[in-house]
Amino acid sequence: MSDRLVLSHMGLVTSPSQSPDSAIAPTIHAHGLKLSLGSGDNAVEILRGIDLVVPRGQTLALLGPSGSGKSSLMAVLSGLERAGAGSLTVAGQDFARLDEDALARARRGRIGVVLQAFHLLPTMTALENVATPLELAGTPDAHVRAAAELTAVGLGHRLSHYPAQLSGGEQQRVAIARALAPRPELVFADEPTGNLDARTGAQIVDLLFARRAEAGSTLLIITHDEALARQCERVVTLADGRIASDTLAAHDVSDTVG
């Protein structure tokens, strides 16, 4: 590993001159990201200049008190929201230049998202839910791959069940299968265990890490759970729209979690 990569790994090197298309290009390369909601006097600054570089394959926990901008940062990084200022390259794409539709296309097959409230499509079976992103990306054997992914998360027997017929844990497994089925370069998880009990939550986290490892994806998790954060290689803490700390694993993060 070169010095440069180590430094960027630490979140310390954030020069925009860094080439995103070099052979060892990071998955996320953000510089000076800003985001405001509302306009004029009512404008609220949510992100106040975020610099962040995430190398390929890293697992990163995003910590911070409510209102610190965690979800907004994830929305911007995953292309669900466009930053008001700054530069952002994700999976080789210059997100700052893409419109809403181009961002949607950029997500296809490359970015998986797991949300606290699962957000499965209620009218579709588990299998269809997992197959949908593959179909959107034009994958020919979408159903076969979806079935394999569901089997891998232990739901091989639930393929034709609808979300309403599944428990919360099972629904989140489907959501993980859906996010990971296209073998994405990058997976975002927004409080994936927030709606689950501790035991089920632990199982889901194990599953998420295991599946991510197999896919070789970069994983960025938003969480309040220190134990979960400790499982990640890197922990970034936000406060008031800025990065308050950025540390590598095996570090006690208790004093940065609000």
Binding site: E100, R105, A117, L121, L136
Partner: protein
Amino acid sequence: MAERPLPWRTAWTIARRDLSARFRGLRLLLVCLFLGVGAIAAIGTLTGSINGELSSRGREILGGDIELKVWQRALKPNEVAALSAYGRVSQGLRLQAVARNGDRTAPVALKAVDGKWPLYGRLALEDGRKVGAPPPGTVWITRSTAARLGIRPGDHFLIGDRPVVAGGIITAHPEQMSEGFALGDLAISGLELPREAGLTAPGAMYRSATRVRFADPARDPDTVVDTLKQRFGDEAFDTRTRKAASPATQRFVDRMGEFLVLVGLAALVIAGIGIGGGVSSYLDARRGSIATLKVLGATSGDIARIYLLQVGAAALVGSLAGLVAGTAVTPLLARALGALLPVSATLTVSPTALATAAAYGLLVALVFAAPPLVRARSYPALALMRARVAPLAPDRRALLVPVGLGLAAILALALASAAQPLVTAGFLAGSAALLGLLALLGVGIRKAAAHLPRPSNAILRAGLANLHRPGAQTGALVTALGFGLSAFVLIASVQTSLQANIERTLPARAPTLFVLDLPQTGVETFRQTVAAALPGARVAMVPNMRGRIVAYGPRDHMTKVSALGKEVPDGAWALRGDRGLTYSATVPEGSTVTRGRWWAANHTGEALVSVDEEFADAVGLDVGDSLTVNVLGVDITARIAAIRRIDWRTMGFNFVLVFSPNALEAAPHNLAATVEAPPGASSDRLLPRLAQAFPSASVVETGGLLKDARALLGQMSVAILAAASVAVLAGLAVLLGAIAAARASRTYDTVILRVLGASRRQLLAMQLAEYGVLAGVLALVALGAGSGLAWLVIVKLFEFAWLPDWPQVLAVLAAGLALVLGLALAGSLPLLRAKPAQALREL
């Protein structure tokens, strides 16, 4: 990376997966299209089959390629010779007569025909025979005449004083449609009978009808008629051709068709509103799915494709069901219209009508579903992460193509298929204006509700806030309620106006008998006969002859009727064909002179005439103008001395033209009389005595006529009501949909208020406050818009008097309001009944 849009196939896979098999959420769209397309399909199929019947059976209906009619004379030999040049000629006479068997009598409409009759088709008899003219001395009669006379086929009876044999019972008469409503039951005899029975003496009211069957079937009948008129003069005879075998029916069908098309368009506009509302709430409910799909990588174009396919599938199913129902219901409509129209009650499939209906339905679906679809494209993926984010600004330019093209196509389709494009265009413009007005009103109500001082009562405050808060359904509710309530007012006004017209047209007090062709010498005998058989009966007698108006207007530049062609002014029906004429020294009973002065009883010198006010106004005549009539081939010009208002409710002798005696008394003519029996008395004894005393006179019983007219108008009003109720049904569906959508949008508030301790009564009061404000404002709008449209239908389309029963209209409107409030409250009951905890779980 796939830059191209999602292939339609994949879009359909996802769309089908996301679509409930029972179209949950899209049922309003389905129902609205079903009703709209069904109505248009039924209307198209019905009018298509009627017009098809009229044109394909034109020859049979007319009984020839052309027909020439003349009052009180047969065609002259040179006229017959001219007709013979074109093909086979059949001559006949039409007159009223009385059939007798001992003491039993029956007035009949006698049709005397020569041996060549009928030129097309055959007459069907009850015994299964298909026949032509009866042999000499034989008469074909109807079942009811046979019953009244107490005879069977083979029995003898009298027509006038001439003995004849009942040869058979008529079951189907091909020319009935072109001959209109007869003043008595049909009897068909040989051509010689009227003369032998003394029914065609000079001055008698009979008409000859001569028909020609062209040797060359391809010959154009209109050209032949023009040639004949050039040779014999415009006024020589009334003509008809196979192309317009039954002008009265055609006029009725055209007018009815136009009305039905308007009803269809109304149903479609209402359906469109429902479609817009339905699709809008469907897609709102799909916000989560749309955002999820976007998170998974779907672009706004992909979203548009997926949901366009869903909406399209529902639209297709609704339209197809509408086409099937529209076709299936046509025989029922035909049966309801019964004797009104020449249409068989069999299932007919008209591809053009069905294609038009489907095109209308899908275009309307496109136009009204496009805005919510375009809006749905812009639901942001971020909606999943923040509970409620404002949608991105919809791309209004994306609306231009589907909405603009759809509207243009609808307009083109409507105008191309309209008999009166102006009326149709006016109606469409009116609908658009009403939509615009309601949209403005929606905005106005929102703004007003936002700026009103806040009520101190929390429930009222919440009710009021529901009208203007973000995401409020006020606009959709205002449109749906406005159209729905307008439909109620429209129906009530049309229905009560029609009813009043029926009652006004059909007098409560009418003469029992009309007697035609009484000789001038028989006045005293007639009075005595009536007095003896029916003591206390009122008798009125007037001179009666036929003539046609040939010119009218200021003396120095009179308008020639022949020069008007088919463009006879509205209300100037008296210009068409022969009219009854009379003369009188005094103002006739039931008339009031409104302008000018009546002539002196012993007036001599210039011929004078008095004209009915409505007719005078229709053609622009005034006192001092002149009028020329042709009576038995002689032109008589008279100066208009007086204009009268006729009370048509006195069903006596109401002549449009009444002359001064010196103008007409020299012309050969008979008298006509009315006999009004005292209440409860029957004319059964009078009829045989009259027939005996005046064998050449003809009698018309008004009882049957009134019954027929009442039945006819009744059928018409049923048909109108049936057609209009489709629009009302569509309105109700839209109303239900709007209320359901509005309810869905405030489920959250209701549940939270329940959790906070609001009682059911308080929540109901909140709903009442909101809907009460809306319904109150819209009732006024509906009263204006609904009655305006009804006025258009009654006065402009049907040319009836505008006589709505306002208390009844208001009662119907009140019922509509009650229905709206009832539906709104009933819609929220499930929510109110649920326990808060349970409702929270279901949120």
